[in-house]
């Protein structure tokens, strides 16, 4: 096939170039720019090389934040994925109640992060919150502003409340796509309920579960608003996750250089993990398609 040579066609992709430049490339480059410089105010900058990166890699504060972050993501995945599957398995398969469940379960997903944070902030308060007051009244020592464990539990329960539906909805969609014949054959083969789950349902929803895990991991790894609204990262630094720490550093302390270096590493970490997920998912797909 002969291609027509028309250099003017470049103009057609110009809008996209401009858009991407302004929305992604230039801001990112600004961050890169800050990360290799130091400033003492007055808009004066000094070349700092890779010092900030070096600093950050040896900063105990950052490693601690990363540790908390990984623990948080690990815990919510360990709860939300099995719980989501369990909910999906027990949802009505069709009819009015099925639609009803779907709608009710979608509700938390529609609530803005800030509002979710506020809801739980008030809900958990010992003086006026239903949850906090009740727990206090029955003699359980619960105060998320002072007790580390209580703060963690609150943040985790909040995230589970907010996002388990997503896993459940994805798993439900996966389960609905399994033809009836599989269940019938399993009955004929006298398979137990566990065997049906292990050998039919789980393999069939594996693909969609990978997507759920990826989404939930990325999202929880970047979590900011909800814990910020509820605990503000406290008590102490107990719920200061990576994003919260980053904002503290960049906007609270105005340490632009270290914060920039840190955000670049943060960004690369998420990219790397997503790439691993992506690779695993496509290999699974290929194996299925073979």
């Amino acid at each position: 096939m002969n291609k027509t040579v028309n250099q003017k066609a470049w103009f057609l992709i110009l809008p996209v170039l401009v858009l991407v430049a302004f929305s992604a490339v230039i801001p990112l480059m600004t961050v890169v720019n800050y990360s290799v410089q130091d400033t003492f105010g007055n808009n004066q900058f000094f070349w700092a090389g890779l010092d900030w990166f070096d600093d950050m890699l040896h900063s105990e504060r950052m490693w601690n934040a990363l540790g908390r972050q990984l623990m948080f993501s690990g815990i919510i995945l360990a709860i939300q994925i099995p719980l989501g599957i369990f909910v999906a398995l027990n949802m009505p398969k069709k009819g009015f109640w099925s639609s009803f469940c779907l709608v009710v379960m979608s509700l938390p997903l529609l609530i803005p992060w800030n509002v979710v944070g506020t809801i739980w902030q008030i809900f958990g308060r010992v003086d006026i919150g239903l949850l906090g007051y009740t727990l206090d009244a029955i003699g359980i020592d619960y105060n998320y502003t002072q007790n580390t464990l209580a703060a963690w539990i609150t943040v985790i329960v909040m995230d589970v409340w907010h996002w388990t539906s997503l896993v459940a909805l994805l798993a439900f969609a996966g389960l609905r796509s399994i033809p009836d014949a599989y269940y019938q054959a399993a009955k004929i083969d006298q398979a137990s309920r566990w065997a049906v789950f292990r050998f039919i349902e789980l393999p069939k929803i594996a693909g969609v579960l990978m997507i759920a895990i990826l989404l939930r991991f990325m999202d929880s790894f970047m979590i900011y608003t909800e814990p910020f609204v509820v605990t503000g990262g406290g008590p102490g630094n107990a719920t200061t996750f990576l994003s919260i720490d980053l904002v503290k550093m960049a906007l609270g302390q105005f340490d632009l250089g270290p914060a920039a270096a840190f955000s670049l590493m943060y960004f690369l970490t998420i990219m790397a993990i997503s790439w691993v997920f992506y690779t695993v998912m496509t290999t699974i797909d290929k194996r299925e398609g073979k």
């Binding site: 004929i188 083969d189 393999p203 194996r287 299925e288 398609g289």
Partner: protein, 361 residues
């Protein structure tokens, strides 16, 4: 192995069926004799699969009873019935190997490992997949998967019945013959009661001792292939079995004579008929003539199908078919048809009636 009795059985998918039309399966009484091979033949949506699923317990009928050897199992779960069933579309357990797939029903019944190994090896040979036993079932072709499904159905030797729900639809034609032969062999070796659902008459007629023809939720005839061919009990059977199907002429019946399109034809026996009367004659029995002695007909076209030719004729506005054997000339001036009385069946309101003096069919 068991005799299966259906007692006043009927099923409707509606919660409160009112008229007979609401029933996907209309009232039915039948004994499936122990150890016989049956084919359940009918067009799509006539209730074949419904009937099969009721027998296997995947569906609880809305009325009537199912008995295995006189034991009521109507509401018993599938697991308690010890039935094997193979479905139209292949079902394999993707994450297991072929061997594990075949062993699965045995394992679930808690059989010991050595026995499982023996049975799996045997069934693996039967479906010609011995060399692939240790590969994963995922990624096999559709017909390989269906062979595994068949294998899982055949692996248990003590089943009460083996049910097949159009199992060879996705299989290559040459493999179809082979698997059908295997099924027949399995039947003669073990004498399981087998019920084989199909809409393919060749498959039904070659597989089964007895063919059960269903139409519109009703069993219209149960008989040997020969009976279905020679004495179709319902016009649907005549139409559905045979290629092309039986010809039907609207006729006025008067004793031993019938009047078709103004021509009187001798029936060879006396009939008492009232209602919508028709005469059915298979294309094999139609003779063409060019001397005007018979029912007036004009040739519309001739189709050569290899071993014989199908002649399509017009008789008083209805199209009928005749079969001309290979080498038999079809005269271009054909203007009438005749048929021998032996090839004639008389239908009243679509059901065949016996001639006076003939035993009930």
């Amino acid at each position: 192995m068991a005799k299966i009795t259906l007692d006043n059985l009927a099923h409707s998918y509606l919660p409160a069926p009112k008229t007979e039309d609401d029933f996907a399966l209309k009232e039915l009484n039948h004994d499936w004799t122990d150890g016989e091979a049956y084919a359940l033949l009918g067009a799509s949506g006539c209730g074949k699969s419904t009937l099969l699923n009721i027998i296997s317990g995947l569906l609880i009928p809305s009325q009537g009873r199912v008995l295995f050897d006189d034991k009521d199992v109507t509401t018993a779960p599938t697991a308690d019935r010890n039935i094997a069933q193979v479905f139209q579309f292949p079902v394999v357990y993707d994450t297991m190997t072929v061997r594990e797939n075949l062993a699965f029903p045995l394992k679930n019944r808690g059989m010991d490992a050595a026995e499982i190994k023996r049975l799996v090896q045997k069934v693996g040979a039967m479906i010609d997949m011995e060399s692939q036993l240790d590969r994963k079932a995922r990624g096999l072709t559709a017909d390989a998967k269906q062979k595994i499904s068949l294998g899982r159905g055949m692996v248990r030797e003590d089943v009460n019945a083996l049910l097949f729900d159009e199992p060879l639809t996705v299989i290559d034609p040459h493999m179809k013959w082979e698997l059908r032969t295997q099924l027949k062999k399995l039947h003669s070796d073990f004498g399981h009661t087998m019920i084989y659902v199909t809409h393919d008459q060749t498959e039904a007629l070659t597989f089964a001792d007895k063919v059960v023809v269903m139409h519109d939720g009703r069993v219209v005839q149960i008989g040997t292939p020969q009976e279905l061919f020679e004495r179709p009990a319902h016009t649907f059977v005549g139409y559905f079995i045979g290629s092309p199907g039986m010809n039907l002429f609207d006729a006025e019946i008067d004793g031993t004579q019938a009047k078709i399109a103004g021509t009187t034809v001798d029936l060879g026996a006396g009939y008492v008929a009232a209602g919508k009367t028709q005469i059915g004659v298979r294309p094999e029995f139609i003779r063409l003539g060019s001397n005007g002695a018979g029912i007036p007909a004009t040739i519309k076209r001739i189709e050569d199908v290899g071993r014989h030719r199908i002649v399509r004729l017009d008789v008083a506005g209805t199209e009928i078919s005749a079969i001309a054997a290979e080498g038999e000339a079809v005269a271009s001036d054909t203007n009438c048809i005749t048929f021998a009385p032996e090839g004639v069946n008389v239908y009243v309101n679509d059901w065949r009636i016996a001639a006076s003096g003939e035993g009930a069919s």
